[in-house]
């Protein structure tokens, strides 16, 4: 729909003179203990373009942009802004040079209002006093110009994720940013919100702004960018005009080999009904309704994917099912037994495994050893413990075996978990949760933040579990993942089920609309479910 105008724009920019180079990075090196995050990166960003930085998780995109934004100092290399070597020592410096950044995890203070967040840290020449009316007027002006509607008086925690992102963009524009760094901005949006964001970005570029857009999604690169630079393992592997490349060649650059977009999946062998959720209600941490009458079934041997914009009750659903959150109403039946509001301990003992979203803050004890983390749930039963004592020798054997089986790479089983990489931690969580062959696996964002290798491996493990006969509830914000792995897809919106569709037949547009709250084809899928139940 926008390809025509895009091509024109690209051609114009290709012809631009070298002085139009807004940013040049030369030989940027950044090391962290044990990793070289950026390894001699050279990059030129032209004024007035949307430049995508494409790469897998861990390729060094965010690190590079944090250097540009002054959050990190490079160990070597220099930054040139319109040809002038510049030191950016802090975000404040970056703002002086009119660089703004919208972080992947928003940098907004939840208890402050949108307006307060926007003016935080600014000195507008009014001393300590605030002319809140003037601030609001300026916010509204920006909002109207770029289609960023938001209530300046609302507290951040009252806003939806999409609205929060708009506050972030306004925050940068309010500071007269003319270079805008967007770090994975679409991961929390519905497809419709993504379209809206893209049109905002285009308006901004038309007004002369330069946008650096970090992503690992190829579709977005093709849709929004003028040029694209691919990073792999901290190095630039290529910069191309978007109009002169295509998805497969970008994917090859990104991963370093041909990518299989489809996971090999055996046909589903649905078993008995494993989980029956009826009219489930629960509150969120703030005491507001998060689940409002959810009902669905899950069968043995199938993966039920849960799609939805984050914050629509997915986290609460996982917590209620695993006994971590109290259901205010409704019923959860596990293999015919009522387990509603049983304790986490009882539910785990009944064969429910939980791979939590917060794998570090919740799924592990970072200061304790791999060994102790592996027995975090089994420590209370034989053979790990006898009477009141834990058999650490047995635990050691168990840990070493699990480390081998799940390829957890560490010097020893006594290594503290906080020293492990993300992939190793997730494999550790899986090793623990899947030991003892659970019947139900509640997996929330199991591959979030992992590299391609680890992601593939973890998806394989989940599929093996499914083939073994376990029922899997797969919650993910990665729509591609949900569509790839799921046998059926359930879309959640505002704590309810918008619809359940067949995984193989699902269309992304349809799911997108449901994620935005529009009922689609519910009756059909509900019927098919009912038919199977009957």
């Amino acid at each position: 729909m926008m390809s025509g105008s895009m091509t024109d724009g690209t051609e114009m920019k290709t012809a631009a003179s070298p002085s139009d180079c807004a940013i040049e990075l030369r030989g940027i090196v950044k090391r962290f203990p044990g990793v070289v995050a950026n390894d001699g990166i050279n990059l030129k960003i032209n004024r007035g373009e949307i430049h995508c930085l494409l790469g897998e998780n861990g390729a060094g995109k965010t690190t590079l942009m944090r250097i540009l934004y002054g959050l990190y100092q490079p160990d070597a290399g220099e930054i040139l802004l319109t040809g002038v070597p510049t030191k950016i020592r802090s975000p404040k410096d970056a703002l002086v040079h009119r660089i703004g950044m919208v972080h992947q995890h928003f940098r907004l203070v939840p208890t402050l209002t949108a307006a307060e967040n926007i003016i935080l840290g600014l000195d507008e020449g009014t001393g300590p006093f605030l002319n809140i009316r003037k601030v609001r007027a300026k916010i509204n002006k920006i909002a109207n110009a770029y289609g960023l509607a938001v209530d300046p008086q609302a507290k951040i925690w009252q806003l939806s994720v999409g609205q929060q992102q708009r506050v972030e963009i306004i925050k940068a524009l309010y500071r007269d940013a003319d270079i805008l760094i967007m770090d994975e901005p679409t991961s929390v949006l519905t497809p419709q919100e993504v379209d809206q964001l893209f049109s905002t970005l285009r308006t901004l570029v038309d007004d002369g702004l330069t946008i650096i857009f970090i992503t690992h999604k190829l579709d977005e690169v093709m849709e929004v960018s003028d040029r694209v630079t691919v990073l792999r393992k901290g190095k630039v592997v290529g910069t191309q005009l978007t109009s002169e490349t295509d998805k497969p060649s970008l994917a090859k650059l990104m991963v370093g080999r041909e990518v299989v977009f489809r996971v090999e999946k055996t046909p589903v062998h649905r078993g008995d009904k494993l989980l029956e959720v009826t009219e489930l209600h629960a509150l969120n941490d703030r005491g507001l309704p998060a689940l409002r009458g959810m009902s669905f079934d899950l069968y043995e041997g199938e993966i039920l994917g849960v799609a939805g914009v984050s914050g629509n009750g997915q986290k609460e659903l996982a917590e209620v099912l695993t006994g971590l959150r109290h259901a205010t109403r409704g019923r959860v039946m596990l293999a015919g037994k009522n387990v509603t509001n049983h304790s986490a301990r009882k539910i785990a003992a009944a064969g429910v495994a939980h791979v939590p979203t917060e794998r570090i803050t919740m799924g592990t004890v970072p200061n304790m050893s791999i060994r102790e983390n592996l027995v975090l749930k089994s420590y209370r039963y034989p053979p790990v413990s006898h009477g009141m004592f834990i058999d650490y020798r047995y635990a050691k054997q168990m840990a070493q075996q699990a480390m081998k089986e799940y390829q957890i790479i560490a010097p020893s089983d006594e290594t503290a978990v906080k020293l492990l990489s993300g992939g190793n931690i997730q494999r550790l969580v899986l090793a623990r949760e899947l030991s003892g062959d659970p019947r139900l696996i509640v997996a929330a964002h199991p591959t979030y933040g992992l590299d391609v290798g680890a992601t593939e491996q973890i998806r394989q493990i989940l599929l093996q579990q499914r083939d073994r006969g376990a029922g899997i509830l797969l919650i993910s914000e990665d729509l591609e993942e949900v569509m790839t792995l799921s046998d059926r897809i359930m879309v959640m919106f505002q704590g309810g089920v918008m619809g359940i569709v067949d995984g193989a037949a699902a269309k992304i547009e349809e799911i997108g609309l449901m994620m935005a709250g529009e009922k689609q084809g519910v009756s059909a899928s509900a019927q098919s479910t009912n038919a199977k139940v009957a």
């Binding site: 703002l95 935080l120 840290g121």
Partner: protein
């Protein structure tokens, strides 16, 4: 007639005893809003009390005593600021250490001052106009220490600064989400230092009020746990200066009313009452806090290091 004079005397005593609580609470609210829990109030208060007493005794100038006490409180609080902000030490332990150090230091330094009389305590004043209001006037605005009025006046000022100025936005942001504040160019450490020192200054003044007005004499340990009650009141106040005022006076009134029961209850039991009240008050407000989740600044007690969120 009886109930009127009863009410008036209750108000008057509530204001008199509530003032050091209010001063301490105002300061602690600022420190905690910026993300630093300071359990050293008791230590800073006793240092202020000592300094005010000595300066006033030597110079005969009680207001000079107040100023020096404020300075001493502020400087003393820097120890906690340095430990908890710069060295990122555990705030609970550091605050306790500050209290120990303060109580010890004031005891050592003040040994030769014990039992000496003070000839020039802070004087009382009556507010013209306001004192004519029935009951409220004689209760709150008649023959009280000038510091009590100043403390009262500080409440709206501190409230306005916290909720309606740039400074306040910055302080609250630093206490809720220092990484975000940092990413916008706010100097997190500086804001926190400033707020801790404000807390120290207020605690110092509260100490001066005790030693050169409330009980114009010096004894080691004369703060008698007021610093701890301040910590409880800060929670009760939901980190809001206006509720801080309500809490301080309410608490002081309860304390006074308990004393009125001396005819029936043993004095030791009455002396334990403030601490029982403090716990009861916390139980009372906890129901609201748990549900609404309003309250404690999210980054309270958490040291901040860039890039380690």
């Amino acid at each position: 007639m009886g109930w009127e004079s009863w009410l008036i005397s209750t108000f008057a005593r509530a204001l008199a005893y509530g003032t050091p609580l209010l001063l301490g609470t105002l300061g602690e609210i600022y420190a905690e809003r910026s993300g630093v829990l300071n359990l050293g109030i008791e230590g800073m208060m006793i240092m202020g009390a000592y300094a005010a007493f000595v300066v006033t005794s030597k110079t005969g100038q009680p207001w000079l005593g107040v100023i020096v006490a404020a300075a001493v409180g502020g400087v003393f609080s820097l120890i906690h600021a340095f430990a908890s902000i710069t060295l990122k030490a555990n705030q609970v332990v550091s605050g306790l250490a500050l209290t120990m150090l303060g109580l010890g230091l004031a005891g050592v330094l003040g040994r030769s001052w014990v039992g000496l009389p003070l000839f020039t305590p802070l004087t009382r004043a009556t507010v013209p106009g306001l004192s004519a209001i029935p009951i409220i006037g004689p209760g709150f605005f008649t023959r009280q220490c000038l510091l009590a009025y100043i403390a009262m006046l500080l409440v709206p000022i501190m409230w306005y600064i916290l909720f309606h100025t740039r400074i306040g936005v910055t302080i609250r942001a630093v206490g809720e989400d220092p990484a975000t504040a940092d990413s916008l160019g706010v100097n997190v450490a500086r804001v926190r230092y400033l707020c801790v020192v404000v807390g120290g200054i207020f605690a110092g003044i509260a100490g001066a009020y005790l030693s050169i007005y409330y009980r114009p004499a010096w004894t080691a340990g004369m703060t008698g746990g007021i610093g701890w009650i301040v910590i409880a009141l800060t929670i009760f106040a939901f980190w809001n200066p206006v509720y801080g005022l309500v809490g301080s006076y309410f608490f002081a009134a309860l304390y006074f009313l308990a004393y009125r029961m001396q005819m029936w209850v043993a004095p030791s039991i009455l002396k334990a009452m403030p601490y029982v009240f403090a716990i009861l008050i916390l139980i009372f407000v906890s129901r609201g806090t748990l549900q609404k989740r309003m309250g404690a600044p999210a980054a309270l007690t958490l040291p901040y290091t860039r890039g380690e969120e």
